[in-house]
């Protein structure tokens, strides 16, 4: 039996408490994950400063080189995994088996993580706007334009409370290592695979193991990570986002409510953008915060909804090994039922119509012995104030909302990725000024097509470093 120990500053620690990591369909125990306790985290965090010390023994450029090597190893090598080893194919296979994610998506997420890692130099150059990275190491330095700048790290480590259902999010913490910030990871209960494999890849590439802690464990372990790391990220639902709103130490990543807005200047040619809309809803099984959950247009909305429904409606659960599998399983009992009931309640309104049902040939909710599926669902919503106009679920779900263009920006609410398909310069100016849109795409760009050179939900440099004043000589007389 594969055993996965706790990692304390690089050293394995065998806990007396273990949790089974099981196959989502058969219940077969695939691994035993040692469980940390909250006190252990607090004890270790007293030495967090050492993680940054060890990383600062290498330059950022050296660490970027190690990231490139780690990317290659992550993607191709047989790496240690707890008490065993793991090939890339075994990694994808076990990730799929314990999370219910189709194998093709596990592979795609693996590539995505490796891509980000291998392009770390360009990413950091973009995110720091060309700052010489040794300034981050030293804390201050002279820019080429002759200006003294100082960046002070907000924390020697970045804490992460990671999810089980979306291995793509791991891209967000990868820049910490080349920025000489240690990592304190609390893996999801059914997806320890990416954090552990990434840790081993980093170590094999030469990054000091002492820069990493991995604490699988119950909820209070996650709380302790958030409490003791001066900068941390957590992934969860809207309640989690609300809980940490305004807390500068914690970046909470939740639902995205990402949307496509069709301008009046292009909406009569909506068929040209059908592929963009379908891809935005369906990619990665509709699990991501960057998947589109709302398509807003002033007219043709019924036809748009119908055209998307024709494409998505027939999609049904397939074995995870099927290359055409397009939706992932819900492995937590009751979750799919709850979402299904909420949608049923929503469509009882006369302003909401489910369009997919006529193309689906069966129920939305598909129940298996140990997991459930929700089949793609497209709603047409004729009242933009109705609750179903702005909702999000973790499967391919989209509301096509009828709304005059001039009202869209005041009605769409918080939007992680907003793709506005328009050439109307005045509206583009308004879109640029709309502070409730985080990532703005202008043009026919799927919401899930991210350029990694752009910041995501805030610039990680600003989160991890404080740009402050620093003087080591008298300023000019004034």
């Amino acid at each position: 039996m594969l055993e996965i120990p706790v990692i304390r500053w690089g050293a394995p620690y065998e806990s007396l408490e273990k949790a089974d990591v099981v196959h989502f369909e058969t219940g077969e125990v695939m691994a035993r994950m040692h469980q940390a306790n909250a006190g252990l985290v607090q004890m270790d965090m007293r030495k967090a400063g050492k993680a940054r010390e060890r990383l600062r023994q290498f330059s950022c450029d050296q660490l970027i080189g190690m990231c490139q090597k780690a990317a290659e190893l992550f993607l191709t090598a047989t790496l240690p995994m707890g008490t065993g080893t793991q090939t890339p194919e075994e990694f994808c296979s076990i990730q799929s088996a314990t999370t219910g994610l189709p194998l093709n998506m596990a592979r795609a997420n693996m590539k995505k993580n490796a891509f980000v890692l291998s392009n770390m130099g360009a990413m950091l150059d973009a995110l720091t706007r060309g700052l010489p990275l040794d300034i981050l190491t030293r804390g201050f330095g002279m820019e080429s334009r002759g200006v003294m700048v100082s960046y002070q790290s907000n924390s020697p480590v970045l804490g992460l409370v990671l999810p089980s259902n979306s291995p793509g999010v791991h891209t967000l913490w990868l820049p910490a290592i080349p920025l000489q910030i240690g990592l304190v990871l609390k893996p999801g209960s059914s997806e320890p695979w990416t954090p552990y494999r990434m840790f081993e890849a980093f170590v094999a590439a030469g990054v000091p193991r002492e820069a990493f802690c991995l604490y699988p464990g119950p909820h209070d372990v996650g709380n302790k990570v958030l409490e003791t790391c001066n900068r941390a990220m957590i992934f969860g639902g809207q309640a989690t986002v609300d809980k940490y709103a305004g807390n500068p130490r914690v970046q909470a990543h939740g639902p995205g409510f990402s949307k496509i807005l069709l301008g009046d200047d292009v909406v009569d040619r909506w068929q040209d953008y059908l592929d963009v809309m379908v891809t935005s809803v369906l990619m990665n099984g509709g699990r991501s915060c960057i998947n589109c959950s709302g398509i807003w247009a002033s007219r043709h909305t019924e036809a748009i909804a119908d055209a998307i429904a024709q494409r998505l409606g027939p999609i049904a659960p397939l074995p995870t090994t099927d290359p055409n599998a397009a939706i992932a399983a819900f492995t937590t009992p009751g979750v799919a039922d709850a979402m299904n009931s909420q949608i049923d309640a929503g469509i009882s309104s006369p302003v909401v119509t489910e369009v997919t049902s006529k193309y689906r040939n069966g129920d939305r909710l598909v129940k298996h012995d140990r997991c459930d599926y929700l089949r793609p669902t497209v709603l047409h919503v004729s009242d933009f104030d109705h609750g179903m106009a702005n909702t999000e679920y973790m499967f391919p779900f989209v509301s096509v909302v009828q709304c005059p263009q001039e009202k869209m920006l005041s009605k769409i609410g918080s939007t992680l990725v907003g793709t506005a398909i328009t050439q109307n310069e005045n509206w583009i100016t308004e879109l640029v000024d709309a502070r409730h849109i985080d990532r703005l795409n202008v043009g026919a760009i799927p919401t899930c097509a991210l350029n990694w050179l752009q910041p995501h939900e805030g610039n990680i440099i600003d989160f991890l470093f404080r740009n402050r004043a620093f003087q080591n000589s008298l300023p000019p007389a004034h």
Binding site: L16, N37, G39, R46, D220, E227
Partner: protein
């Protein structure tokens, strides 16, 4: 020297005799309390005639702790105790009318019995104590204080109100909860630093963690603060936490022992530490005054096999309180008798899996 089997048999006989005596006391018109004498009228059996051994307690319906909500409190006081000074202790949650238990001397007796299980080298007679944990309407503070006094010491107390912590956490005020915990630790540190000769301590796992780490941050330790022995309770005292506490929080020279109990029962003791157990925690009830059974999840009258998992069922049989079977909010594994405690034990106690998802644990 009698064998463990002989000891177990003798204890069983003692338990049967104690059961007959207790039932006679609580259901006789001249000694019983109003609650049980009224309740008796609803039974289809006569406790005075039909309960002749411990197993006959299964004739009673399960004790419902909801009965403990609200007054009049005196309905629980046996006739013979009505003129004694009476304490009332609360148990349980944060909302509604609290569940209360009246006590005359049980908390003293329970803790005097518990005292006999403590090793004198780690809990020296005459040493002073620190009680760092919930007091308020609970019996814990008075009980620990009595324990300290019974062993010839003085008890210093720092209170933490867990109901306030639960309220803060439910409102998402994590920082406020942390600040409150730090406020309690501040007080404990002050008392420990004030030349009070404190060598023994009761606290909860969370508070011990916070205290030990604060001392470490100050370059000190629990041991350097003078503490030799600690007893600590609650389902948070897990096997892994036990090991963490011994190996990392306390070091080899500070003794720590787990306890399990509540206001209804007394205090169940932990099996003495044995490296061969790999920190597995096994509790034994203070028989015959209280009994723990590990029962089938679906049939609470059926005790599970040794080593099997079941729900914790409590019985209390003192002259002050009669609880003929109460299903605790915990589960665990049934354990074989031990030479020091020749009756069944329960190990790895944790919140009952059905309730676990909705219970806020580890708040203090």
């Amino acid at each position: 020297m009698s064998t463990l089997e002989e000891k177990c048999r003798a204890q069983r006989e003692l338990l049967d005799e104690h059961t007959r005596e207790t039932v006679r006391w609580h259901f006789s018109e001249d000694t019983g309390c109003d609650f049980w004498l009224e309740k008796k009228k609803t039974f289809d059996f006569d406790p005075l005639k039909d309960v002749n051994c411990f197993n006959d307690l299964k004739k009673f319906p399960l004790f419902e702790d909801e009965w403990l909500r609200g007054g009049p409190m005196r309905r629980w006081v046996p006739k013979q105790w009505q003129n004694k000074p009476i304490y009332v202790f609360e148990t349980g949650g944060t909302t509604g009318i609290p569940k209360s238990r009246v006590v005359v001397e049980d908390h003293w007796i329970d803790y005097e019995l518990f005292s006999a299980t403590l090793p004198d080298e780690s809990f020296p007679k005459g040493a002073n104590w620190l009680m760092l944990g919930p007091s308020g309407p609970r019996r814990l503070r008075l009980a620990i204080e009595h324990l300290a006094q019974f062993r010839g010491g003085i008890c210093f107390c720092v209170d933490l109100d867990p109901r306030w912590v639960v309220k803060l956490l439910k409102k998402g005020k994590v920082e406020d909860a942390k600040e409150y915990s730090a406020h309690c630790i501040d007080q404990a540190i002050t008392i420990l630093s004030a030349n009070n000769d404190i060598q023994c301590m009761f606290t909860t796992p969370k508070l011990l963690e916070a205290l030990a780490l604060r001392l470490m941050d100050q370059g000190s330790s629990i041991e350097e603060a003078g503490i030799k022995g600690i007893f600590c309770g609650g389902t948070e005292f897990t096997q892994q936490w036990y090991r963490f506490a011994r190996e990392e929080l306390l070091g080899p020279n500070v003794y720590i022992t787990p306890t399990y109990g509540n206001t209804l029962m007394g205090l169940a003791c932990g099996k003495p530490h044995d490296p061969a157990d790999n920190y597995k925690i096994t509790y034994f009830a203070p028989q015959p005054r209280a009994v723990i059974e590990v029962v089938d999840f679906d049939d609470h009258n059926k005790v599970v096999e040794y080593g099997a998992t079941g729900r914790v069922k409590l019985y209390t049989m003192t002259k002050e309180l009669f609880v003929p079977g109460f299903l605790e909010r915990d589960e665990g594994e049934r354990e074989l008798p031990h030479d020091k405690y020749p009756w069944d034990g329960v190990s790895s106690v944790r919140p009952y899996h059905v309730f676990a998802k909705t219970t806020t644990v580890g708040v203090y």
